[in-house]
Symmetry: C2
Subunit: 421 residues, 2 copies
């Protein structure tokens, strides 16, 4: 056996403590778990000064290092953000508990009753960056579903994360539940690699962050991973799309929140209707502040557009930039999306029910949107309540991961002495 | 980039061809997929002489190497087994197609209709040993759900597997579907390692076989894996268990098919009722040919029993041997099962509804059985129809993997111009 570093030992022991706690969490009743969550939101509200002081430490350290404004903004807590965090906890508390829910139930010809129910997953590990609210969001979703959680947040948020985790751990103690149902790991880089190999204890590992982090985890994991890869989302304007609807959906998709993974990164327009659709859509996008890159076929319809390069397609810009291409109808759009899409969210604007149906079945993505904005691919918007992220994996879960995504199943067989023979 | 061996190239190219075929399979209608399966069972029946000749080659090679009788038996095809194989295909054809099925459907306050439907997983890879019927069983389950499949069977069955795979591929061609929806790989050992890293193409890898194979795949996989680990299944006789029921369930659990993963490997008996339960249960087990190993507390109740060693607990015997222990009531049983069980199948025989309920919720296993035999944990018995195996994983699927387990989900959002803002 190779020698373990101090960080590896700390990760292994932290996971073992959390795994033991998960066994007690699995037996907690819905009432107990809701009572736990009901302690967390008032604690956040009551601890605002201490939480803001911890966050100020992180911000001062970030300023000392001269971090980018976008990162500083993700790191920053204020009164409003803490209030939103507390509210999010209350919303999770109000959601139905999936644990114990019957998924299927049948009585077999021999009289056996077979019930498939949802059960807690066990120990969920999460690696994330910057945003301290994830510490609470991920914890309450995992705890509500009877799991324990091991968190490895970014070093830039360590003081904020410690303060928030301490508050959740205190709520666990106050509710008579094991405090190790939340274990916050150190921020050493090595801790990520160590987490990847805790196959004795970790049931699910969720990396959230840049593509490099997700690739590293996927490459090194000996535990099951659900990925949250980038969103290279397209909106396709089909022949006959109403101009006003097209404009609204494209402007919202690109510009309502350009840094979101469900933002539209590429606009596709049917060649036969591009002369009608492109000029007003481009004018609206420009007026709203988008920076456009078009193919030659696009530039033939509008003045003064920068030429797109090959790199502009399949690119997650995460800013105001939008790539635009003219395609050969629905088939052209499907080919383009199959080549450049990331399987996250794809939208069509069309008056044709037949084309909508074909788009829905032919596009291989977590979410397919007809006549609405790509921005709707989000747990809250799809009716799940809070989410731990949006899975681009195909196994276990795909799309917004709410409470149900944090459960596994258990088969219950009830008999009166039956044997198989 | 490191140089690829010829085997690695063959695996990578085989997976790429199958992945391309999976995109066409995903668009096949239920009628087309059923028509495909309807070609396979008559083809098996019509090709019996050729299939038996291929199998005879494998058997002759096996005899030349002097393989164990149990392996030879798993390898062997005969008229009855081919008939059973054809019948299994017909049964899968008759099952409902889960692809496109609505799992949840809601209309949001803004009028968006949100539908979660089942979609094909993509490319399923399977590594297995000995039994040639798996070549057909796995293929038809994967094809019925609109997937493609890459198979790496054992070298001992290569002639049989080639003959069966050729027949399925011919049926694909005859139905106008891509023949590469089934790709049979070579039997080189290196092919397993190469399959483990096909993350560009393989969506799910299922290893079926001994623990060493499963551990190797889990350790080396860069693709999602669903494990089928061993079954160390317990049957616990609670205080007041009716003797006649206890006898029937334990004898069936242990002896009906000792080589199955859902066979009972260990009998637990409540200490307060052991004097009543043990003598008749032991007598019946002995009469039926079981070889018993008991703790001292067990041996105090019955004559002439071999002493169990520590190694007898947590052991998957796969033969007539049964370990027996006396435990301190339900809590003692739960502790024993948590320590030694493999999370596969656990049973209780009890007259107490309260104890049954506690056992059901406290035992962490894929299947929990009350007052029936552990042997019922099987896709057919639980009403799923055919299965590709029994998953002991917690992620994606747990328990018998039928058609539904070979699908992922897709979120469909239908609007009339809604934006999120």
């Amino acid at each position: 056996m190779s020698l373990e570093s101090a960080v590896e030992t700390a990760v292994r022991e932290g996971c073992a403590r959390a795994k033991a706690a998960s066994r007690r969490m699995a037996l907690a009743t819905t009432a107990q778990k809701n009572a736990l969550l009901a302690r967390i939101s008032p604690a956040i509200r009551a601890s605002k000064p201490a939480l803001l002081a911890a966050n100020a430490e992180d911000l001062a350290a970030a300023d000392g290092k001269g971090v980018a404004p976008a990162l500083r903004d993700r790191l920053r807590l204020d009164d409003g953000r803490l209030e939103a965090l507390a509210k999010a906890v209350d919303e999770v508390a109000a959601l139905p508990d999936p644990v114990g829910e019957t998924v299927t139930e049948t009585v077999r010809p021999n009289g056996l009753r077979v019930t498939r129910v949802r059960a807690p997953l066990g120990l969920i590990a999460m690696v994330y960056e910057a945003r301290p609210n994830v510490t609470v969001d991920a914890s309450v979703l995992a705890l509500k579903t009877g799991n324990a959680v091991v968190l490895r947040g970014g070093s830039e948020a360590i003081a904020s994360n410690r303060a928030l985790a301490a508050l959740v751990r205190q709520a666990l103690v106050d509710e008579g539940l094991p405090e190790d149902a939340l274990v916050l790991l150190g921020t050493e880089r090595e801790a990520i690699g160590a987490l990847c190999v805790q196959s004795e204890t970790v049931d699910l590992l969720i990396p959230r962050g840049g593509e490099a982090l997700i690739r590293y985890v996927t490459e090194h994991a000996r535990v099951p991973v659900v990925q949250h890869y980038k969103g290279v989302c397209h909106t396709y304007l089909d022949a006959g799309a109403p101009v006003e609807t097209a404009v609204r959906i494209v402007v919202d998709g690109k510009l309502a929140r350009p840094s979101a993974c469900n933002a539209t990164e590429c606009l596709l327009v049917d060649a036969t209707d591009a002369a009608r659709l492109l000029p007003p859509v481009v004018a609206a996008l420009r007026a709203a502040g988008a920076e456009l890159r078009g193919t030659d076929a696009v530039r033939a319809h509008v003045e003064g557009m920068t030429a797109a390069t090959d790199d502009d397609f399949g690119m997650e810009f995460l800013d105001n930039r939008l790539a635009i291409a003219v395609v050969d109808g629905l088939d052209g759009a499907l080919t383009h999306i199959a080549r450049y899409g990331s399987g996250h969210t794809e939208a069509i604007v069309t008056p044709s029910a037949a084309n909508a149906a074909r788009f829905r079945s032919a596009v291989d993505a977590a979410c397919v949107v007809v006549n609405a904005s790509t921005r709707f691919h989000d747990g809250g918007e799809l009716g799940l309540g809070a989410e731990i992220g949006i899975a681009t994996s195909r196994l276990h879960w795909r799309g917004p991961m709410g409470l149900e995504a944090l459960t596994t199943m258990k088969w219950l067989v009830d008999g009166e002495g039956q044997i198989r023979g």
